[in-house]
């Protein structure tokens, strides 16, 4: 166990100092703020009924940027670009080590392959936890400021809802990070891993969902694909009919919340284990 802790500390040190990590986290935060707060708020202030906000009453636009809506708004972007960004992080964090030769160096330090690679997995998991918590904190902060500016009561969301949203965020982003890790291990190349991962996340799964309408039996498979499960979990948070995430790209209602959670946990654990087994067994040439 201490070997795993030592490996985690080592990996956290090098991740913390990695500019790529901060670029990716910054892009995620910026996109999240842009799509949830900037666009909605600007539409509300200008009364502009552009295509994106067409037919949405102004009060609803305002409600979406207030603190009470944070449990929904913070996960809205996760199934699409949040997941893709964290997938890139996982793929680069693991895949780059093959090109740099750092896996070779790390795996000759002594903790053993399972502990060394396990440390990398734990460090990435902690990174995901940090990203999700930071997202919740930033969104709550921005929403509170907007509420104050608009002289609205600063009404915090119920803690239970917030915890649910954080949990969903951890699962969605964690699962996509695990996808990135697995593709990184499989390809041993950061560029190929990121490319293939993005093609899958952004194109292939959507295409398969489209085709499944035509072929009956295929729906069972496509309904349980990683992206579909992630979108369904985000969609399930809105089951109570809150501010309305309808039409948000990637947010689906294919699976119910419980099933989506189960599928995501299975993918997350499965991808991590397969990666670990591959690293343990394969030659590092």
């Amino acid at each position: 166990m201490s070997a795993l802790a030592a490996s985690t500390r080592a990996e956290l040190l090098r991740l913390r100092r990695w500019p790529v990590l901060w670029v990716l986290v910054g892009v995620w935060v910026a996109l999240n703020l842009t799509f949830v707060y900037v666009l909605n708020y600007v539409a509300y202030r200008t009364g502009d009924t552009s295509t994106a906000t067409e037919g949405v009453p102004p009060e609803e636009l305002l409600a979406e940027v207030l603190p009470a809506a944070v449990p929904l708004s913070m996960v809205q972007g996760m199934p699409v670009f949040g997941g893709a960004i964290l997938m890139i992080l996982g793929a680069l964090a693991v895949g780059s080590g093959y090109g740099w030769g750092t896996w070779k160096t790390v795996l000759t330090q002594g903790p053993g392959r399972v502990a060394s690679f396990g440390g990398a997995l734990v460090a990435l998991a902690l990174t995901v936890v940090g990203v999700v918590l930071a997202t919740a904190a930033i969104d709550l902060g921005v929403a509170s400021v907007l509420a104050a500016v608009e002289s609205q009561p600063v009404e915090m969301p119920p803690l239970g809802d917030l915890a649910e949203a954080v949990g969903a965020g951890l699962l969605v982003l964690g699962m996509w990070t695990a996808v990135g890790v697995l593709v990184g291990v499989l390809t041993k190349s950061p560029a190929l891993a990121v490319g293939l991962g993005l093609v899958w996340a952004l194109a292939v799964e959507n295409l398969l969902r489209g085709v499944s309408v035509l072929i009956g039996g295929l729906a069972v498979v496509t309904d349980h694909l990683p992206g579909t499960a992630a979108g369904s979990l985000a969609g399930a948070l809105d089951a109570g009919g809150g501010a309305g995430a309808d039409g948000t790209p990637g947010v689906l209602t294919v699976l119910d919340g419980g099933t989506a959670t189960g599928v995501l946990v299975a993918y997350l654990v499965g991808f991590a284990i397969v990666s670990l087994v591959l690293v343990r067994r394969r030659d590092l040439a």
Partner: protein, 334 residues
Amino acid sequence: MDETVVTTHRLTKRYGDRLAVDSVSLTVRRGEVYGFLGPNGAGKTTTLRMLLGLIRPTGGRAAVLGAAPGAPSAVARIGALVEGPGFYPYLSGRDNLRVMARYQHLDDRATDAALDRVDMTGRGRDRFGAYSLGMKQRLGVASALLGEPDLLILDEPTNGLDPAGMADMRSLVVAVAAGGQTVVLSSHLLAEVQEICDRVGVIADGRLLAENTVSDLRGATAVLVRAEPLDRALAVAMRVAGDDAVEVVAGAGVIDGAGVIDGAGARAGRGTGVRLTVAPSVVPVLTRELVAHGVDVLEIRAVERSLEEVFFEMTRPGARAVQTSQMPETLEVS
């Protein structure tokens, strides 16, 4: 403590049709500097990777520090630099060492000590990606030295170093061995191996051709005589040194004692002479005898075979060696 640090028995690695390492059986003893000598693509790096557990052998056995290769208990006591230094390019040299130190439960003092040993303290805060090849190599050695390992495996440690850096690296290896650590060092530089290694394993085309001390490999010293007439000189030499210790050598002037090829001498046809496998102390007696028998002595000197000479002798006769030299680098081991 047991005396052997590394033993392999018919260790083999096959990639498809190609045998990268073919039944290599070698032994490294505690406290020695073991030189692993061979041309590029001979299987040196592949063998070292197997000893570290980075790749799995397809045949044979190996034990490193009393454990199977790659066992955490063994790897923790090995410091390694294999096939070039592999570090995070965005981190400073020092931070790279700090990361590796954390894997080994070491504190930052160990990293400073390791940096100091390779004279990198002044550049420790610079980004690894901005280092020159030589500095990267030195950082790799510093990383291998972290935690005072019992066994140091250095794959071509002087690659990319300038002459001064190479000299520093050699004295560092010698100092490390003097401190009781065992060093396995691969190289294609014969002079380097000859200078610092106690024992040598010669590998070519994946096969271990010889394993011995440097002096045993180089064999006994000899005395070379060029004199006229040759037959009378031969008779005198036989009387002095004994029949079995004397031979007529063509091209005797071709390779001198330092292993430098004397092409001009060979072309001038002044090569034929007599070679006596005896200690150089016989030279005064031999000279007197030759002169007393009316032989004109043109040249008489002690010669010692260089490792290079031995190496070429070992690799030359094999047809395979000739073939591979005609197919440049297609068999390069990755």
